[in-house]
Amino acid sequence: MTAGADTRIGPYLELFAGRGAGSEPLGTRRQQAIERFEEAGFPTPRDEEWRQTNLGPILRARPVPASGRVLGEGSALPFLYPGCDRMVFVNGRYAPAASSPPQGVTAFSLADPAGAGSELLAEHLGASVDGRASCSADAGVHPFAALNTALFEDGAAIGIPAGTALERPIQVLWLSAPSADAAAGDNGAPGSIEVSFPRLLVVAGENSQASVIETFAAADPAAGGYFVCPAAEFVCAAGSVVRHTRLQADAVGAFHLGFQHARLDRAAAFDSSSLAFGGALVRNDTVALLDGEGADCTLDGLYVLAGSQFTGNHMRVEHRQPHTTSHQLYKGVLDGQARSVFNGRIYVHQAAQKTDAKQTNRNLLLSKAALANSNPQLEIFADDVRCTHGSTIGRLDEDALFYLRARGIGFEEAHGMLVHAFAREVTDKATFEPLRRDLEARLFASLNGVRSNGRGG
């Protein structure tokens, strides 16, 4: 396996060679990133954070850049919410015709040469992977974040000026539309996959407020054979309040390895919800650095999986300053032979006295063959802190099911009610009404899928 490492990264190095590092200020960072990636290589089962993720299906396929397709404006419509400003990307590239960027803030496409001189980029882009704002040393470089930094074609940069409170959410839609001839073939048979590297940078100035909704979706829900490898960076200045929703509704055959990184300054609040419904092989790696006194971070998530879907959520929250708080609530519903991993790491530095951290991961298994892994890890180096974690993996409450049925509610409906009741603790947190309704609809659609697939396993 060790000898194979070179051949596995080769095709990605070729992608980089094909496009080059490009112009400054990003050229140097891209070059550094590809070197870091080359040095680290793809993770192996020996890497603790990747032990339970089988990257085989991705690494066996030959990556080709996603085609720069221009789609009709209508193809994005089903995924867009009313009442939002929006930036739409197709296969990782900006689609200006479908977009209406917010006014009064900085918002541009990373491929737009006009943005190249922007202070936002110079100061913040790539800080999460080049050591300027990375995790503690033991975490190392995130291979796919490095890969994204080296290879992203385009993306969104959003800067909210100090003191500005945006009333409308900003929706960033990442639409994948693989060309018809790209297909990974049956379950890992060597073929090609179209790969895109969406990149998002959000910089919230002091005392600003904004809500950003990221939507990952496929123009054709039945599409397979694509690989989306996004990276998002959030910089939350003192006193800022940033809400973030990450809806992952990729095609069921898609691969998705995402990285998101938030840095919070004094009294900043970052509240991020991750809702995962799609994809065959999905990772969502989140790093939150609580870098200022009183910073407050909320990370919620829901994954609803069936068939042979795999989703891993890997969290790392670092409390670096006193009086910082973090709350995590991740819930999973698994049917069929679906598998999930929750790796939640809370790291409390010595300086971070009075830290208040809570982490909860609850999993509901609907079939005998479904499997959920839950690994909470607390590393605490301060002595005056409150840290709790809880993790459960269970089945539907048979007594509750009987209770509902004894009142005349049929099995299917009772089953759906209980699963919905379990999941809504997360979906109910969406305060933006169109988003909440969409999440409800997706949840019900997934549950219907679960039901029509039959129960038990």
Binding site: D397, D399, A400, F402, Y403, L404, R405, A406, R407, G408, I409, G410, F411, E413, A414, M417, L418, H420, A421, F422, R424, E425
Partner: protein
């Protein structure tokens, strides 16, 4: 209305009911009394169709229909209602949402049109008043964080809304203080009707001061050892169940 014949049932290989006979006619209230472990709750659960219990012999009929052939929800559609001894907490499911789903599932199964939100709310308010349930309970998740008394009242409210033909009350009095007991009993009495029957399962005679039964049955070790009128409950109160061992021995 209800006809139970020589009912034998077991759970995990242990026989609990060893030949129960019970016949309940429309308009009647029957009390089934017995000590812990006599099989009272098993009888209730078997009637409602809990899958953990296996009927090994005998028959169960509601209005001439074989209950054993019916899923729990079908039994409800046929007019059976069980007030649970331990109502289940269901966080995340709103109480009134649940009740509306239940009412409409029953209506649909009976070929009636479903109630819309307005009509349902009207029904719910009316019945909540009838059985003296605070409307605040309706806005909370089903039984979630309810006190013991609130849970039992919620059972009675569900019964009032669902209008069953046969209601089985499984130790609805247990854990209630005297005021709650009176409220629950008043709710039951308000629902007594010529075409409706009740089976009140209880350990103690106290509830029967407020819900006066037409018939009392003593259940001991999986069998009904004596049946009589409401005076039998008072006899039990005086003598205790020990006095009935002889009756069983002689039976």
């Amino acid at each position: 209305m209800l006809r139970v014949r020589d009912l034998h049932a077991r759970v995990e290989q242990q026989e609990i009911l060893k030949g129960v006979d019970l016949e309940v006619k429309a308009g009647e209230v029957h009390a089934v009394m017995g000590p812990n472990g006599s099989g009272k709750s098993t009888l209730a659960q078997v009637l409602a169709g809990k899958e953990d219990y296996e009927v090994t012999a005998g028959s169960l009929e509601l209005e001439g229909e074989d209950l054993q052939e019916m899923a729990p929800e079908e039994r409800a559609h046929a007019g059976l209602f069980l007030a649970f001894q331990y109502p289940v907490e269901i966080p995340g499911v709103g109480n009134s949402y649940f009740l509306k789903a239940a009412v409409n599932a029953n209506r649909k199964a009976r070929g009636e049109s479903e109630l819309d939100a307005m009509d349902f709310l009207k029904l719910l308010r009316e019945r909540a008043t009838l059985v003296d349930v605070d409307e605040a309970l309706l806005r909370r998740p089903v039984n979630d964080g309810f006190s013991g008394g609130e849970k039992k009242r919620n059972e009675i409210l569900q019964m009032a809304v669902l209008e069953p033909r046969l209601a089985v009350l499984d130790e609805t009095d247990s854990g209630l203080d005297i005021d709650a007991l009176k409220t629950v009993a008043a709710g039951v009495n308000a629902l007594r009707a010529e075409n409706r029957a009740f089976v009140v399962i209880t350990h103690y005679q106290r509830l029967l001061n407020y819900i006066v039964p037409d018939h009392v049955h003593v259940l001991l070790d999986g069998r009904i050892v004596r049946s009589g009128g409401s005076e039998l409950a008072h006899e039990l109160e005086e003598k205790g169940y020990a006095g009935f061992d002889g009756a069983r021995a002689g039976a």
